[in-house]
């Protein structure tokens, strides 16, 4: 039942504390779980259920809805090649084919060395920079086949530290200093306007 490391568990509690209802922390905690092990394990879902007060089935329901959560092991680098219109107009299909040849795998699978998982993906909000791709959700723009080969070489280099492994999303975390924090309150416990609104009302009347 203990999936999270002590450090992550502490973080998990901090995250839960930011929301008026703990269930809202479900997706952030799934990200945290994925950060810890690269993908989301059953143990992780179970513990998240306990942490946010839902059944494991509900965690699975939410987890499986979202593309980014992987419920089986994936490569160190997940390479998503955009295949939606703007990229398609400018050669996404060719790029994906090239990637399949270069990595020797079909989209949707992982190289045998466990380094790369290749996926055809949908629009990545970089349409003007087509064709584009993401490595662990970090963009690469206007990627030519040779750019792609170079990128793969760089990533395959064990000394490469620029792109963190799959699961690690933002490397800078939000931290709300205790002394500045207003604090989340369950909505059932509030039924008056915030002070600055009340104040002004009194001033008006």
């Amino acid at each position: 039942m203990t999936f999270f490391t002590e450090e992550n568990l502490e973080l998990a509690h901090e995250i839960i504390g930011r929301y008026p209802k703990q269930r809202s922390a479900m997706i952030p905690l799934l990200h945290l779980a994925q950060e810890q092990s690269g993908w989301v394990t059953e143990e992780a879902m179970k513990q998240i259920g306990v942490l946010v007060g839902t059944s494991s089935a509900e965690v699975l329901g939410t987890c499986s809805f979202y593309e980014m959560f992987k419920r089986h092991e994936v490569g160190k680098y997940v390479v998503n090649i955009c295949t939606t219109m703007s990229c398609a107009l400018l050669g996404a299909e060719e790029l994906l084919e090239h990637a399949e040849t270069r990595l020797g795998i079909k989209a949707g699978s992982t190289t045998s060395d466990g380094l790369f998982t290749l996926e055809g993906a949908e629009c990545q909000a970089a349409c003007t920079e087509a064709p584009c791709l993401q490595v662990n959700y970090r963009h690469q723009y206007r990627v030519t086949p040779s750019d792609f080969d170079q990128l793969i070489d760089e990533l395959a280099d064990p000394n490469n530290e620029e792109t963190p492994r799959h699961g690690v999303l933002a490397q800078i975390r939000q931290h709300i200093p205790v002394e500045r924090s207003v604090g989340a309150v369950h909505p059932d416990l509030v039924n008056v306007p915030p002070v600055w609104i009340e104040e002004k009302k009194e001033a008006n009347s």
Partner: protein
């Protein structure tokens, strides 16, 4: 803007003007006016999700006709609805075409075939041909999602009914939509099955054959079924059911939606436990003690068995006869037995309860509340057994009301229950001391106390633990009458027709029709040969008397005191102490094995009549099949015994019994069988009248605690080693082995390993159980289920004390 009729709006549906209630959904308004709008996801007892889009109709609110899902939009004044326009029909046809493109169309092998909304609506509204030429979605064919339910995802149309039910109604969100879009599917979490007490409802509300009930799969085709509406008697909630049979065999129960009781839902025990009647263990012929081998029961004839019983009764000293049981009976059976005991045998030693309820006078004397009243009171105080385990549909109703914020549930309980999850406040008290806790709550300046006092209150009252005597519950009633004089009570008695049996006089001190022994009415004096005047013994009293040689004959009418009476030691001594024991039953129970004569009785579904639920609601019981064996109806057995005792009960049919009840029982005057059985009387008939005046004297006794002891708490589980459950193929495996649950700190203190065997020691017995550390159990207590496989709690309970304390030791 005050309006003359603020809640009424006028709507035109298919050209006809109707009155609807403001806020009512279009589909519901149409339903009420006999216009059927096809639908899959909409269910009147759950929130709308608008997923299937099958209910699209053309709606004009002044801006021209527009297709709108009728399960999502509310009526507004002047709205014009067309459920048959070309647009509507095209939409319906289109949606059905979409639903069918991935549907396997395996109707011939599908349980739902013949009663399938998808099938029916396809015939009525669907396209004639499929333009879909691709490969359909494929999934592994039926996968079990629990012991009782199978899921075929290929047939599923993702209407969200089962998942919504699990989450919204049952509170067991164990089935969920998973994946997304075209790959969406219903699933459970790996290794966490849909083990909800209410899982069978999902099968019933599934609009296709995606969910099937393991006990019913491939058993019958709908067109072969005969169906009668009846009442479930598994517990005393009395849910309305449609009982279906095929070739003289019960095959299925369906919940019927009635407002005051079950809203269409059933618990799985009620839904599936009819299997027991087909059990090969059923008693089929009368048995009698072998004169050559006193340890053996041998088959005999009805004549011989009845004669032996009558002889024993005749030989008994006057007044030294007792009748235990009655909750398995119909009202008619119960009346026949009450009459036999009172009018023929001349005793008031009758008790339908097995020392596990509250005195009959308390049950009938407290101001009564209905389930609906409980679900709409400002506060519901729950002080009694775990409703989820014992009265599951009452739990469901209460949960629904609490979730919709219609009631505030306050629970006073010795341990966490199924109610705790939706209680506004769960107050943990020491077992046996609820009255004290309640009193201090009500007299404190806690905000809650003010809230309770300022609104309407219904108390759901019963025995929180069978290791407590009835006293603590009676003390609660006395605190309530003192502090909250306007409060009403719903007495949480569990057994099937226990309330009806008490109404019929199977309770010491009472006569049929909620009449005290002291004030017999004229009718009974006219009709009964004699009317008892001396208050008889209750079950505990009879057992004690028998043990002391003060009772000669014990008649067990569907009663198994060795298993169900809280104090097995006393029950044992009672049965042995009696000179002669007659047992009338469906199954060879432990007590039956100790009887001198055993008479097989017909079971539920094999006999008709009426039954009464916890509220006092009388409703019909239907006969659907005939008993394959020599079993007889309980009232017939009473009649024959009377005759052999030189009396005459003077009725020869169930109908005649009822008309006598109607005359004799003042509370039931004017309530004819025709009325109860009428098709319009789906809700049954609620009887509130009572002539019992209750005077509760608080005992002021506080249980003494042994400093070293753990207080024993014992309640029943829905699935236990009870006769009915253990004779159902599908349910018997669901009863979990009995374990002793104790707070981990107690185990630590005693140096006991979690999961190890311990010796339980009480003043009554010593026994062995596995001890489990459980954080949720309050310190100082130990919890043992009353009757689960392994070890029974009634071994240890001393029914003479208000509470039972035990010691545990490592082995």
């Amino acid at each position: 803007m005050p309006d003359s009729q603020p809640n009424a709006v006028s709507v035109t549906i298919n050209g006809t003007q109707i009155e609807a209630e403001a806020g009512e959904l279009v589909i519901a308004a149409a339903d009420r006016n006999g216009v059927h709008i096809p639908r899959f996801c909409y269910h009147e007892r759950m929130s709308s999700v608008g997923m299937c889009r099958m209910c699209l109709v053309e709606v004009d609110t002044g801006r021209g006709p527009m297709l709108q899902p009728s399960c999502m939009i509310s009526v507004t004044d002047g709205m014009i609805v067309d459920t048959e326009s070309d647009q509507t029909k095209r939409a319906q046809e289109g949606i059905l075409e979409f639903l069918l493109i991935n549907h396997p169309l395996d109707c011939p092998v599908c349980d739902k075939g013949g009663e399938c909304p998808l099938q029916d609506q396809t015939v009525a509204y669907g396209p004639g041909e499929s333009r879909f030429i691709e490969e359909k979605r494929h999934y592994e064919k039926p996968i079990p999602i629990s012991d009782l339910v199978h899921l075929d995802r290929e047939r599923c149309i993702l209407c969200d009914r089962c998942t919504r039910f699990a989450d919204e109604v049952a509170g067991d969100p164990l089935i969920q939509f998973t994946e997304r879009g075209n790959e969406t599917q219903v699933l459970t979490f790996p290794n966490e099955p849909f083990s909800s007490y209410f899982s069978g409802n999902t099968v019933q509300i599934c609009p296709v054959g995606a969910l099937t009930a393991a006990p019913y799969r491939f058993k019958a085709r709908p067109w072969d079924l005969e169906q009668v509406e009846s009442t479930c008697t598994t517990c005393s909630v009395g849910c309305r059911v449609a009982v279906q049979s095929s070739r003289n065999e019960l095959v299925r129960y369906l919940g019927v939606d009635i407002d005051p009781v079950n809203h269409g839902w059933l618990c799985d025990k009620g839904r599936f436990d009819f299997e027991a009647i087909k059990s090969p263990n059923r008693l089929e012929t009368p048995l009698i003690r072998d004169p050559n081998d006193k340890d053996q029961l041998i088959e005999t004839t009805w004549g011989a068995a009845l004669a032996a019983s009558a002889d024993a009764i005749k030989e008994a000293r006057s007044g030294k006869i007792g009748v235990i049981g009655g909750s398995r009976l119909t009202n008619e059976d119960a009346y026949a037995w009450a009459k036999l005991a009172g009018s023929v045998i001349g005793t008031n030693n009758v008790d339908a309860q097995l020392g596990d309820g509250l005195p009959g006078k308390v049950v009938l004397g407290l101001p009564g509340a209905t389930i609906d009243e409980a679900c709409s009171a400002d506060t519901v105080l729950v002080i009694g057994p775990d409703l989820k385990e014992e009265l599951p549909i009452l739990h469901l109703r209460l949960r629904g009301a609490a979730k919709k914020k219609k009631v505030k549930v306050v629970e006073i309980t010795p341990l966490q229950t199924g109610v705790s999850s939706y209680a506004h406040r769960s107050i943990v008290c020491r077992s046996g001391e609820a009255a004290k806790t309640l009193k201090s709550l009500l007299t404190s300046d806690d905000e809650l106390s003010q809230e309770i006092r300022s609104g309407s209150v219904v108390v759901i009252l019963g025995r929180s633990s069978l290791a407590e005597s009835a006293l603590p519950a009676i003390e609660v009633a006395s605190v309530i009458t003192e502090e909250l004089p306007k409060a009403k009570f719903l007495v949480a008695l569990r057994r099937g027709n226990v309330r009806g049996a008490i109404d019929m006089g199977l309770s010491p001190g009472l006569l049929p029709g909620r009449v005290p022994l002291e004030n017999p009415n004229d009718e009974i004096k006219k009709i009964w040969a004699k009317v008892p005047t001396v208050e008889g013994l209750d079950t505990a009293g009879m057992l004690r008397a028998a043990a002391d040689g003060q009772l000669d004959v014990l008649i067990l009418v569907g009663a198994d005191p060795l298993v169900d009476f809280p104090d097995q030691d006393l029950a044992n001594r009672g049965l042995r102490g009696a000179k002669f024991v007659v047992a009338i039953d469906n199954f060879p129970t432990l007590s039956v094995a100790n009887a001198d004569v055993v008479l097989p009785a017909t079971a539920y579904g094999e006999k008709g009549g009426t039954t009464t639920n916890i509220e006092g609601r009388v409703s019909r019981l239907a006969q659907l099949v005939t008993s394959p064996s020599a079993a007889r109806d309980d009232w017939m057995i009473a009649s024959e015994l009377a005759w052999r005792l030189g009396g005459d009960l003077k009725f020869s049919s169930m109908e005649e019994i009822w008309s006598e009840i109607e005359q004799v029982a003042p509370s039931h005057n004017g309530i004819t069988l025709e009325k109860i059985w009428a098709d319009e009387t789906r809700d049954g008939i609620l009887i509130t009248e009572t002539s019992i005046q209750l005077a509760i004297e608080p005992s002021g006794e506080t249980p003494v605690v042994d400093g070293y002891g753990l207080r024993l708490i014992s309640g029943r589980k829905l699935y236990d080693a009870g006769t009915q459950t253990s004779n159902c193929a599908s349910l018997s495996a669901l009863a979990q082995d009995a374990e002793l649950r104790v707070n981990p700190t107690e185990l630590e203190r005693l140096g006991i390993q979690d999961g190890s065997e311990v010796t339980i020691i009480s003043t009554k017995a010593t026994g062995v159980a596995i001890a489990i550390a459980d954080e949720s159990i309050p310190r100082g207590t130990a919890v043992l289920p009353f009757n689960n496989p392994g070890i029974r709690a009634n071994l240890f309970i001393n029914s003479e004390l208000p509470v039972t304390d035990i010691r545990i030791e490592t082995r």
